[in-house]
Each structure stands twice: as C-alpha cells, then as structure tokens.
C-alpha cells in the first residue's frame, strides 16, 4: 500500500473508525496521559481533520502523532478492524513531507541512507563511547556522562567492542546440512547484543542448518520509517533486498519483531508501486522467518539433550506478537528445553514502552510504561526474563536495574544455545566416564 506516500491513500482506513473509543482500554500511552490525543481514536479523527483541511501540519500536530509506541494494541482490539498504526505512520510521513525532520533526526537518517558510513560511524562511536558513557559497577550497563542525545537519567547497554559481523565468519557450515539460510542481524544484535547473535547461528547450526551472514547488510529501516522518513526507508529497503537477493537462500532469518516485520510487511508496502523491487520484496517476504518461528514451524527443532534449571518468563515484543503474529513459537522453544519452566506474567504482550526512538524522545513517559511491565515481571520472580527483541531487552534491563533487581534479560535463543552447548559437555562427560 502506498499509504506512506499520500495521506489520501489512507482515507478509507480513517473512515472505518467508528469512534467507539475501545482503543482507550488497551493504549499504554492513553493510560498515562489521559488525553484523547494520546489514543488512536483521537489521532484518527485529527488525521481526518488534517485531511479535510480543518487542521494544519503544525508542530503540535507532529507532537501528537509522535506520541505513539506503534505497539498495535489498538489495532488488535478494534472491533471495526481499523489499523490505527498504519494511519499514524502514514500521517507521520505526511507531516515529515510537509515540515521535514528535526535536525538531529535528519543527520542520523542521512547517515543511515549510506550503509558504509553508518557502519563506520557506529564503529567510531563504539571506540569513543567511554568518553560519553560511564560504566555502572559490576553491570554491563552505563549512563551518560553528559547529554549525548540521551536523557541524563538513561541507563543503556554500551555498544559492543566489535560488531557481530566482524566476530563471526560469513559462512557457518555444518556437516550434512538440511538447509542454507541467510542471517539478517539487524542493529541491536550486530552492535550491542552480539552474544545473542552468535546464539542464533549456534542454534541453527545445532539443527543442521548452514548460516550465511552477508557482510553488506544494513539496518532494517524500521526506525526510519516509524519516524516518517519514507524516502530513506525505501532506500534502505532496496539496499537490503539487493543484498539478500544475491544468494540463493532457503530462508532469511531474523531475531527481532521490527526486522521480521520489515521483511514480511513493510518492504512490500513501501515498494508496492515499483515493479522490480515490489516483486522482489514480495518474493523475499515469503522466505523471511523469525528464528523461533523457523526452528519450530520449519525445522521441528531438536530438543536439547542437556537439562537446564531455570524458571523464566517471556515478554512478547509488540512487533513480534501483533506485528507478525508470533507468540507461540518462542514459548515452544522455551518449553522444549528440559528443566526450564515458563511462568507467564500478567499481560505478557503489553508494551514495555521502549518503541525504539520513542524512548529517546519521551524518556519519562516511556519509563512509566516500562515500570508497569517491570512490576509484572517481578511478581513472577523468574531467574531470567526472555524476549525476542533487542530494544525491549535494553528497556527491561534498565527497568529491572532501576527496580534494584539482578534478574538478567536474554534472547530466547540464548538459553537454547546454552542447552545445546551443555549437551556437548554431557557427551564429553560420557566419553570420559
């Protein structure tokens, strides 16, 4: 759908809204701000006013549309089947076309449209981050020393010393492989949670799959798209499509809700009007899988022989559960690990408040939403919190740290990788025994 190119194209979706207000019951933002502009119904009617000329592209309007986590809870709860998330993204895009992006975002997104310079930029940042970030004692977390674009109270995971792409070989082969897949690492795993990235490769290898991790791949582009920069999002989409069309892969594997959403939905939506890329996006969308989904639905994952001893809880990333409808597969992965008990928290699919760059712009509000999530996690008191998204992970790590908790947050496949690794130990023990 070319709704990102013209607000007019989303008109039918806007008209579908019955104004019933049911979205108020599930909107994390509305629960905090208690204003009609915070919730989908208000935003949709304002988009209608904009479309029909009763309102203009003001800064206030932009602010109202920025105030959304794109968690899609409203869409899932809408009796009329309206997709408020699409209306909001289309309106953001319309506003950006008219008003442009704020300077900081323009600079960052400008850099993102050039993959090589982006990689260099992050590489430099990783070397220089110690200047801006102060490490928290005994933790893999840091806080800003001075305002570097982060809220001064913010707690973050520092960038990894070396990105995942330079830690791993381009091809990880296994003897007698069942399939050959391409690994789309995305930014969070490539630059921050590299351990989780290695785990993706390990679990795929352990299930007899060759993994190719193309060196030239780039950010999925969702952070750019949700900020209304459709032009850059399209450039990134085309770039990634070109990179992943080059090899003849059985599947493209991602490990994060936004990345999988990009491959499954957004690339095609963005490029539907362009014959070559539109067709390519559609073709590759059928090959894209989240790692848990691929393990469970495609491979029929092998249950690890070794036993672990954890009680875990699972947080559903919004873009994973509502964006692409994946919630059972990660749970099946967890349940397939012997000795691991999954204890569900209340409303595991409620947004953690991160929403990528949202937490940068609205740190306080994001924190209030996060703290509700943390309360739910703590009431389960797990040994580990598992999730399927790096951005959620960072948000939860900060929340748990602030709540004085030592509970670690990990990607689902890390625990699986641990079980497979321990399996090796079991075998060697057997050998020596």
């Amino acid at each position: 759908m070319a709704c990102y190119d013209s607000l007019e194209k989303i008109k039918a979706e806007i008209t579908k809204c019955m104004k019933c207000g049911n979205c108020q019951a599930v909107c994390p933002i509305y629960k905090e701000v208690m204003r009609e502009t915070g919730v989908a119904r208000g935003k949709i009617q304002i988009a209608k006013d904009l479309l029909e000329g009763r309102l203009e592209h003001t800064e206030k309007l932009q602010e109202i549309f920025n105030l959304c986590l794109t968690c899609k809870a409203c869409a899932a709860n809408c009796p009329s089947g309206v997709r408020p998330d699409k209306i909001i993204l289309a309106t953001r895009a319309a506003i950006v076309r008219k008003r442009g992006l704020p300077l900081v975002k323009r600079q960052i997104f400008g850099l993102m449209s050039k993959p090589r310079r982006f990689r260099m930029g992050i590489g430099m940042a990783s070397k220089l981050q110690a200047l801006g970030l102060k490490k928290i004692k005994d933790k893999d977390l840091a806080r800003p020393r001075f305002p570097i674009g982060l809220d001064m109270k913010r707690i973050v995971r520092p960038l990894a010393g070396r990105p995942l792409l330079s830690q791993i070989p381009e091809v990880s082969k296994v003897p007698k492989s069942r399939a050959r897949v391409a690994f789309f690492t995305g930014c969070m795993l490539n630059y921050i949670y590299t351990q989780a990235g290695r785990a993706v490769i390990e679990v795929l290898n352990a299930n007899g799959v060759d993994v190719v991790t193309p060196r030239e791949q780039h950010c999925c582009g969702i952070p750019v798209l949700v900020n209304g920069d459709v032009k850059t999002a399209k450039e990134i989409a085309k770039y990634n499509l070109d990179v992943f069309a080059r090899g003849n892969y059985d599947a493209i594997i991602t490990h994060c809700g936004s990345c999988i959403g990009a491959w499954v939905h957004h690339y095609h939506e963005l490029l539907a009007d362009e014959p070559r890329y539109g067709a390519l996006a559609k073709e590759l969308s059928a090959k894209a899988f989240d790692v848990s989904q691929y393990l469970v639905d495609k491979l029929g994952m092998r249950e690890p022989l070794a036993k672990l001893n954890y009680t875990v809880t699972y947080h559903d990333p919004c873009h994973m559960v509502r964006g692409v409808g994946i919630s059972q597969q990660p749970r099946k992965v967890i349940r397939n690990i012997s000795g691991v008990t999954l204890k569900e928290m209340k409303k595991p699919d409620r947004c953690c408040g991160s929403a990528g760059s949202f937490s940068l712009s609205y740190y306080e509000l994001s924190g209030k939403i996060r703290d509700k999530k943390v309360t739910d996690i703590l009431s389960v008191n797990p040994d580990i919190v598992l999730t399927s998204c790096g951005a959620c992970r960072m948000q939860l790590e900060e929340g748990l740290y602030r709540a004085g908790s030592d509970i670690p947050v990990r990607h689902v496949v890390e625990v699986l990788a641990e079980a497979y690794a321990k399996e090796g130990g079991v075998t060697s023990e057997r050998k020596t025994g």
Partner: protein, 460 residues
C-alpha cells in the same frame, strides 16, 4: 476577551496540566462515539482531579455563562457529550479512584472516572460483581455510565445502572456540593434525588462520587444458542422462557441480516438461512442453573428451535463470540454505522422486527438488528455511508419511522443509550406536552442559567 479570562482562571484553579487550549487538543473533544452527529470544537478542555476543582470549574462557567459539557471516556451513543455551543469540556477521567469497597454492606464508592471493568476487577476479589455491563465496559467510566443510565447484556435479570446507584455526590450548577442517598438498602427520605441525577445526561449536575450496590457473583452459568426458521417461533420462545418462570441473565437475539453478516465475518458456524438466533445464558446456584437450562431447552424445542447447549467453557465462548461479533461485523460492511436503541415490551419483539424489515425495504437500506430480546431492547443498525447525502436522507426518514413504530407498540425511545441530541426531536411524542413542561421545570430549577450540557435532552 472573556475566553482569555476564563482560561486564566481555569488555569489558576486547576494548574496548567489540567487545562487544554491548543486547537489540535480541542479537536479531539469535538466528537463522541455517535455516528451522523455534527463535530463541534470546544473552546477549552479541563481535566479536574478533585470535587473541589470541579466546583471551581462550575463556578467559573456560571460566572461567565460559558456552557459546560461533562464527559467521561466519550463512548456514548446519543451525541450527549458533543459541545454543541462550544464552551468548556470537562473530562472526568483523572478522577479515577475506587474510594472504598464495603463488602459488609455490599457497596462500592467510586469517583466518576473509574472504568467499569476496573471496578468489576476490584470487587471480584470479594466474590462480588457490579452487574451493569454495557458493551463498552472496558472503556466507559462509571460517571458517564451513571449519567447516561447505561444498560447492557444482563439487563433482563439484573436491570440497568439506575438499579445499582445508591448514593451520589453532585456539584450543582451554582457550584455547591450536594449528597443524596447512601449505603442503606432502605432509603425513602424525601424526593428520590439519586434517581433524578441518574440518566440526567449531565444536564442537572456534575457527578463527583458514586455509591453503588454490589451483588454476589453467580456461582455458575450456562449458555445456549437456539436457531429459529421463523421469527414468530423465536418470539414465542422468548416469552415462553419467561412465562415458565425462568429469568435468564442474558437473552439476546440476532436477525437474519446480522446472522449472515456475522457468519461472513467471523465464521462461527451460524445457519445463514435462519430468521433469528437466540443466545441465552442462565446463571446462579448450580442446581438452579441446571434446572433453568432444562426449561430453556424445552421451551426452545417446543417452539421449533434447534438448540445447542454449551457444555464446556470453550463452547460457551464460541456462543458469545457470535454475539460479540455482531456490531463489529455489521460495522465493517459500510463506512458509517448508525446504531439505534429502540425498545419495546418484549411481547412486541416480532412486531418490531417485522416493522424494521418493512422499513429497510421501504427506504432501500440495509438494517441489521440484534439486541437484548429479553428486555425488548433492540439495536437496529443501519449500514450506510455518511458521504452519500441522498442515502443519509433516507436513513433519517427510516430512523424517524423506527421510533414512531417503537412508541406505537408501547415502547420507549431509549433502552440504554439516552436521548442526547440524537433523539430529542422525538421526546415530546413519548412525554407529551405536559411531560416536557415538567422536565423543563426540573431543568430550570436546578440549572436556571442553562450552563450544564445545554442542548441535550431538552431544547431551550
């Protein structure tokens, strides 16, 4: 400029965070959930956090003769919260504390901004329920629900909101606070002011505290779905169940248009050639529920109904999934969904349904009807497009006729949505001239300057 002064004083009284003045924020309060009603943008929106702040707002409105429109979540379906003459919109959602749950006296005391479902969740821990359950139970506020006297699916057995409100705190149009009613089951002191404010749609005072009656949660429940080839058989089953001394908690009907639309949308296995289906739930003590379910089954069969009794929780969910899908399914057929609220004595349900079918044919409109058959409260739902001016003319004529028929059958204009703007033109037909005069006298006595929600229920 008067408005600037008003805003200045409101800000002084409520703090900046509780006063919205930017036109984009105001635009978000120009509508409610009613279809086919004009949007009007207020001049200022306030979000008070205490009774005292509400008093301040009312005093300022009175001083400057600014219209004051009180609003909860804005889920109402009668245009009741549209700021017709602009002025101040007062949103009560920040006054959302459950002040007390008194399990001994079976009451709860709440602020008006409490969401109905939140109250139900809180009292569930005591094994209690607050029975009124409008379709918007997860969103609507207690204040709005009391002001509109909302109903819901359990109306037949449990009644509507007014049957559960025991006491109120109200800020009057002069800014003074009055309390009426209380926790006593028996209370016959003076005029029944509680009932007067319940359903007053924000025109007589601003509700700032509510004491409601709670009841023990039914121990168990049983649901059934009955399919009828003929409307008359369905109607006979409805009256037959009650004549056999069973009062189901819920007794819902869906007509053929609704059945077909729901089936097309949700694929729940409804027979698309049936003239009507009834969805029935009995609740209470297990032995009684068992006995009542048998009666329901017998009466349905005697009236040529095919019956499916839910044996498990999943089967029960399946049955109610069909009912829950009714409005969404109808809503997705067309851009505009005009949801009406005509109510007749339950024995007149077949007459009303036939009249609706005739009206749909006469004005060439698609009307799907579902609703609370047991209490005679039907929701004829007209599927239309507000951009089609010619069709909207026919819609308006059809709506006029729907209410004419409902009244001629001894019915009423509203079973649960209230009058607001949408139905005020029919009011005299139900109340007569003397009745309207009496209503106006009450309004004038309590709000002589016509500050509170002007233009609703009555025209001045």
């Amino acid at each position: 400029m008067c408005l600037n002064k008003v805003i200045e004083q409101l800000t002084q009284a409520l703090g900046e965070e509780n006063v919205l003045t930017e036109k984009e924020e105001l635009a978000a309060y120009s509508f409610d959930a009613t279809a086919d009603i004009p949007k009007v943008v207020p001049q200022v929106v306030v979000t008070p956090t205490s009774t005292q702040q509400v008093q301040e707002v009312v005093k300022i409105a009175a001083k400057y003769k600014m219209p004051l429109y009180t609003r909860g979540s804005g889920t109402n379906l009668s245009g009741g919260t549209i700021p017709l003459n602009q002025g101040i919109v007062m949103v009560m959602v920040k006054m959302n504390k459950i002040l007390e749950i008194d399990a001994e006296n079976l009451t709860a005391t709440v602020q008006p901004g409490v969401i109905i479902q939140d109250l139900n969740d809180a009292v569930a821990e005591y094994g209690l329920i607050y029975p009124p359950d409008p379709g918007t139970v997860a969103t609507a506020t207690m204040g709005g629900s009391v002001a509109e006297c909302s109903g819901g699916l359990r109306g037949l057995k449990y009644g509507v909101t007014k049957h559960y409100v025991m006491g109120l705190e109200v800020v009057l149009a002069n800014g003074k606070v009055m309390r009426c009613g209380g926790k006593t089951v028996k209370n016959v002191t003076a005029y029944d002011m509680v009932k007067l404010f319940v359903g007053s749609e924000g025109t007589l005072g601003v509700i700032t505290e509510i004491i409601v009656k709670l009841i023990p949660a039914p121990e168990t429940r049983k649901s059934a779905l009955a399919v009828f080839r003929s409307l008359d058989d369905a109607a006979k089953a409805i009256t037959g169940i009650i004549a056999n001394k069973v009062i189901p908690a819920t007794l819902e009907i869906m007509d053929n248009v609704t059945i077909r639309t729901v089936e097309n949308y949700a694929r729940v296995g409804l027979p698309t050639d049936a003239e009507a289906v009834l969805l029935i739930e009995v609740d209470g003590i297990p032995e009684v529920v068992e006995k009542e379910a048998e009666v329901v089954a017998r009466v349905c069969r005697e009236n040529n109904g095919e019956l499916k009794l839910a044996e498990t929780a999943e089967e029960r969910d399946e049955i109610w999934q069909a009912r829950r899908a009714a409005l969404p399914a109808l809503a997705q057929v067309s851009p505009t969904t005009v949801l009406e609220d005509a109510t007749v004595p339950r024995s007149k349900i077949p007459d009303m349904l036939k009249a609706l079918r005739h009206i749909a044919e006469k004005y060439q409109l698609t009307i799907g009807t579902f609703g609370h058959a047991g209490d005679g409260n039907l929701h004829p739902t007209i599927l239309t497009d507000e951009n089609n001016a010619e069709e909207m003319k026919r819609v308006h004529k059809a709506v006029d006729e729907i209410f004419e028929v409902a009244l001629s059958l001894g019915g009423t204009l509203s079973g649960e949505h209230g009058i607001g703007i949408a139905k005020q033109k029919y009011l005299e037909k139900e109340f007569g001239e003397a009745g309207i005069e009496a209503l106006k006298a009450i309004k004038k006595a309590l709000d002589p300057e016509n500050i509170l929600n002007p233009g609703k229920i009555l025209k001045f």
